[in-house]
């Protein structure tokens, strides 16, 4: 697996060759640096640690500074470990959007927008009661029955109810890369990505 850390900039659209306007998301990727290479001999498994997005020295503590100094780089905000890394991994190696090609399919991982505590209508797509009259004075968006009565005389686990919605890790699979702009470190990916503008996402190949 090959991963690059990026920042969601926002959505726009792009005209494809056949004249269709395709909605897309722009992601900017600051240079990613390999900050640690874990090996079977040393740590018991193979992985690399990548980091991206510059961070001020004054907002980093000494252990962080030492860790990044080992890779001969500046402190970074986002640090991530990738198991079974495909590319060549040398300590301090830098890479960016150029690892992707136009037309390639990628997965994108991010944290979805938090919606707070939501009822079943928004969270699970229940239809609500459907009628505002005929005695439904406060039942309009209620879940209805949670199950049968005496048997089983309990509510089954996993029954869909209200609760926290969003703000969870989401992976969008098989998104096509429409454009790679190595000069400005930009990626244009077809469709929507999880999270708000400015959120960090991980693009996986």
């Amino acid at each position: 697996m090959l991963s690059v850390i990026g920042k969601k900039i926002g959505m726009t659209a792009i005209f494809t060759e056949n004249g269709k306007k395709e909605p897309c998301t722009v992601v900017s990727c600051e240079p990613n640096v390999i900050t640690q290479v874990k090996t079977e001999a040393n740590e018991g498994y193979n992985a690399v640690q990548i980091a991206s997005v510059e961070k001020k020295e004054k907002s980093s503590n000494k252990p962080e500074m030492g860790h990044f100094a080992k890779a001969k780089t500046t402190p970074k905000r986002v640090v991530l470990e990738i198991r079974d890394y495909d590319g060549e991994a040398g300590l301090g190696d830098s890479f960016g959007v150029e690892v992707f090609k136009e037309g390639e399919f990628v997965d994108v991982v991010g944290t979805s927008k938090g919606k707070g505590f939501q009822g079943v209508v928004k969270r699970h797509g229940f239809s609500g009661v459907g009628e505002a009259t005929h005695g439904q004075h406060n039942r309009l968006r209620a879940p209805g029955s949670l199950g049968a009565g005496s048997t089983p005389s309990r509510v089954f686990k996993g029954t869909r109810m209200g609760g926290q919605m969003g703000n969870v890790r989401v992976k969008m699979q098989n998104l096509r890369i429409l454009k790679v702009d190595a000069e400005n470190n930009l990626l244009v990916i077809s469709g929507a990505l999880p999270g708000h503008n400015g959120a960090y996402v991980v693009i996986e190949k």
Binding site: A13, I14, E17, G19, N184
Partner: protein
Amino acid sequence: MDLIKQIEASQIRTDTPEFAAGDNVSVHYKIREGEKERIQVFQGTVLQRRNTGLDETFTVRKISSGIGVERIFPTNSPNIDKIIINRRGKVRRARIFYLRGLSGKSARIKERR
């Protein structure tokens, strides 16, 4: 936000002529049928131009064998071969939807000189 504008700016066509509501235009539109590509001309009156930048579209209305036909084109579409302005119309508003309710003599538009 600038990065978005940068990407959009690279796609905005600069060869579009200046035209407005009330003008009579011929839109040469590329149509792909399998492998072959041909050009279809849609001639009519511009009813409106809406949105700005990359998302801009314009509506063209014509009377085709007695039936009013309207078509919306994205101004920056690469499928538009060219736009020819046949006649400049003198209208008082930016969106001339009132034309839909008119026919014959009353649907005429004065030429702008």
